[in-house]
Amino acid sequence: MTDKIKIENVDLFYGDFQALKNVNMNIKENEITAFIGPSGCGKSTLLKSLNRMNDLIEGVKITGRILLDDVDIYKDMDATVLRRRVGMVFQKPNPFPMSIYENVAYGPKTHGVKGKAQLDEIVEKSLRSAAMWDEVKDRLKKSALGLSGGQQQRLCIARAFSVNPEVILLDEPTSALDPISTMKIEDLLVEIKKDYTIIIVTHNMQQATRISDKTAFFLVGEIIEFDETERLFSMPKNKKTEDYITGRFG
């Protein structure tokens, strides 16, 4: 499998505070990569750097290179193009205050899809991929805010699918959800990885072991260890990783 994303010598500062220190990693296509570590360790910061959501925060400075298919996303790519190719699902479900249909159609409309038939098709396909078409097909015109938390989050995943991304970033997508909704989303991720490259930030180590192929452990802005998930959890090379996964801190 090829490297979809290459991260080379990345340092990131919020003002004077260094949030990422010399991060290097390659992320393989059609795999699920999990980022774990205690709060404030930089895992979400790195995730947001991958589709330049950090651009929105004042005073952020980033050095080093991040390559998507060997193109530098900070130098040679427009942020809107990047974000179409690298979609994101957020910690709290954030559907727009519109109908379910409009929520999913918003992305393709943004990127110039106009025909009603074409939009219908995309909406259906995206909702099917998020395994919620049957649940909502009869109420597409209803407000998305009326859905349950778990449904809202899957709608946000469908919304991310709608622009046909290559990479999907998920920032603790199940932390606000109940166990059943969480399970549905985990199953979904495993099923779709054949078509996408998936990176998930999670607080939940069981989640990482259940679904991810590779896991990176972060501590105060550095990658302490990055390996096959199975190996990282069964025989960590680093003492700090071992302390963390056995629950001694964090």
């Binding site: 589709n51 959501m53 929105l56 004042e58 809107t80 193009v81 990047l82 974000r83 179409r84 190719r85 979609g87 994101m88 957020f90 709290k92 954030n94 559907p95 727009f96 205050p97 519109m98 918003y106 992305g107 943004t110 990127h111 805010l145 946000c156 919304r159 991310a160 709608s162 622009v163």
Partner: protein
């Protein structure tokens, strides 16, 4: 022991008096409002008739028709000027301005100043600038220009507040799909903020309808027999109509001042009802 008991009694009496006075002031405020409204409506509503509402203006009908049409014309045209400027300004302040920016400080100072300037000063400015220097003469056009500036702060501050109350997660969701900032503002932020913006617009309508001092020297006190949309004509609005009738001092014109006042109060009712409804809607959607 006795002393503390005495003291306690005294404290209880004081507390009771204080509480009674507080209640009295609350009731008094409502009482004043009801008195004003009933006083105008009871004397005014029976005087309203078809000729007064839609007839030709003469010394007998003292019709509000042409003034009403001008009022509506003034509302529509001044909103057409102020709403885009005000909403765009709010977008700049809420979405684009960087914190600690010097220009933003100046802009905020200017908006606060505009909000504090009395109507009569707007009237003087309109008279000097639009009527005399730009040569619009005393006309509906001069009135519209003057009032558009006057309602700007109302529209800006309510729009800014509404835009700021849109959760950041909506913006992230849109930007995360690859939408530009501009598209996010127009497709996600503004529609979500719409109830608040509308509330500000309705508030501004209330101000336009009730305005007198800023219009007396700009659009003037003249009254046309029949409604006209001529921007260059000098023509009064409803509120000025009421002022002119009230200052004539004849019993008939006084009666019709009550009738005009009743119409104004009805407008105020509608405006108030609509803003409260809209404000409630913002509260709920979050």
């Amino acid at each position: 022991m006795d002393r503390t008991l005495d003291n306690l009694k005294q404290r209880k009496v004081k507390a009771f008096l204080f509480k009674s006075f507080v209640w009295f002031c609350g009731i008094l405020t409502v009482g004043i409002l009801i008195y004003i409204l009933l006083f105008i409506l009871l004397k005014g509503v029976p005087k309203i008739n078809l000729k007064f509402l839609f007839g030709e203006y003469n010394s007998e009908t003292l019709s509000v028709f042409s003034s009403m049409v001008t009022t509506v014309q003034m509302i529509v045209l001044s909103l057409l000027i102020s709403v885009p400027i005000g909403v765009f300004c709010a977008i700049y302040l809420a979405e684009y301005a960087k914190r600690g920016n010097k220009a933003v400080k100046v802009i905020r100072l200017a908006i606060d100043t505009l909000a504090g300037i009395p109507s009569i000063v707007y009237g003087l400015f309109g008279m000097i600038f639009f009527v005399q220097i730009l040569g619009f003469r005393a006309s509906v056009l001069s009135g519209i220009c003057t009032i558009s500036i006057m309602i700007l702060p109302v529209i800006i501050s309510s729009s800014e507040e509404a835009i700021k109350s849109v959760p950041d997660t909506y913006r992230e969701g849109s930007l995360g799909l690859g939408a530009t900032r501009l598209r996010t503002v127009f497709r996600i932020v503004l529609p979500t903020a719409m109830p608040g913006i509308l509330a500000g617009i309705i508030l501004a309508i209330g101000r336009i309808v009730g305005e007198t001092a800023a219009l007396i020297f700009t659009s003037g006190t003249n009254v046309l027999k029949n409604p006209s949309l001529n921007l260059m004509a000098s023509q009064r609005t409803l509120a000025i109509h009421m002022y002119m009738l009230a200052s004539e001092g004849l019993p008939h014109s006084r009666d019709m001042a009550f009738a005009t006042g009743s119409i104004l109060i009805l407008v105020v009712f509608v405006v108030n009802y609509a803003t409260t409804k809209l404000a409630g809607r913002i509260g709920r959607s979050q």
